[in-house]
Symmetry: C2
Subunit: 208 residues, 2 copies
DNA sequence: ACCTGAACACCGTTCAAGT
DNA sequence: ACCTGAACACCGTTCAAGT
């Protein structure tokens, strides 16, 4: 087969297959040859649609960010909007943890990432926050969300109980995994509440 | 050359060279062959000292964590200790950003990571925080520190000004890079202050 | 325009052979 | 015990050849 009259690949199909592969088996499992096999073509065919593998990864990352709901910024006061956006951002990234290392690097040139930054920053500035503080708040929210999505805290400890013999306070560590969702959610919600409550207090004091 | 009478390699020398390579050129530059070349041996020689490349990466990560100063937990009240530890943790990770994706996965079986967790968790529990809250606070601090060290917020935006024509609020984005240190530090310090202040308030209210 | 096979310069890891 | 060369099964990417 050389060129078929109907193209075998589209950017959309490639991104879909790549996303599924990353979600199912992780970033390391995404190789151009493996992805091509999944799409029933040969590796080099992908280069007719993307210039590099990195561009494919970026497209996967942006498809995830586009799922984040920023609509609250149009309909709620800044603090409630921030809370709703952060929860959506957190939920989306927690559903796709394998791509988080890419998202944690920032929006770069990705349209979805830039659109999200525009919505957040615009809403904060419109609410009266200084440019500097609006930037800090946007950064801080990204730190919290990517930091929590990047690695489950509760699953970050090896389950071998014997490992903790030398650490008197860590006896419960190997059993954290059993309720890791509650632990990770609890930590995120605590952080979100502390940040928003603290920001609201400062806002009302006029230190914006 | 077969076996020399004095071993050419030690685990220490391998970790040192690997750390230097990761710091200078990033995790992707760390290949067994490249690392071996740096040490004037052949690739397979490394396997006499480490079982897998992953074990080498873990050793590099733990060498970084061991630099974090946890001594404040013995000498200061929990809130001040938390603040001092977090700043040290942040400074160390910011000095070695390329290894942060590994650290963000948790301590696993790494002794340095476990020792740090022991110090933090122990101090919080001793101060009167519940097991659940102590876990949440430890998680939260890791989220903030790894999230901020993983990718500079200010450097996460492409510098091409034309890119921002469609985003009315992001006109300053390409110039964030000029003062990225101040921006990233400001966001981290804001976050740290909001978290500790909020935790202190809850502690004093008795909700531990 | 778009897919292919062949090729290049890489990977991590195994293993028998050497001292 | 520890280093080596050869080998295996992989990588990302280029490119001329095909329709």
């Amino acid at each position: 087969m050389a060129r078929p009259r109907q193209a075998l690949l589209t950017r959309e199909r490639i991104v879909e297959a790549a996303s599924a592969l990353v979600d199912a088996e992780g970033l390391d499992a995404l190789s151009t040859r493996r992805l091509a096999t999944e799409l029933s073509v040969q590796g080099p065919s992908l280069y007719n649609h993307f210039a590099t593998k990195s561009d494919i990864v970026d497209a996967v990352a942006d498809a995830v960010i586009e799922q984040v709901d920023v609509s609250a910024f149009g309909t709620f006061p800044w603090d409630e909007a921030l809370r709703r956006w952060a929860r959506s951002y957190h939920a989306v990234l927690s559903a796709h943890p394998n791509i988080v290392p890419v998202l944690a690097q920032g929006p770069g040139r990705r349209p979805g990432g830039l659109a999200m930054a525009e919505a957040v920053y615009g809403a904060l500035v419109d609410a009266g926050w200084s440019y500097a503080r609006a930037t800090h708040i946007g950064a801080l929210m990204r730190y919290l969300v990517t930091g929590s999505a990047l690695g489950s805290f509760a699953l970050g400890f090896d389950v071998d109980p014997q490992l903790y013999d030398r650490y008197p306070h860590l006896g419960h560590a190997p059993r954290l995994a059993e309720h890791h969702e509650a632990v990770d959610e609890g930590a995120f919600e605590l952080g979100l509440d502390l940040l928003i409550t603290g920001l609201t207090a400062r806002y009302e004091m006029g230190t914006r």
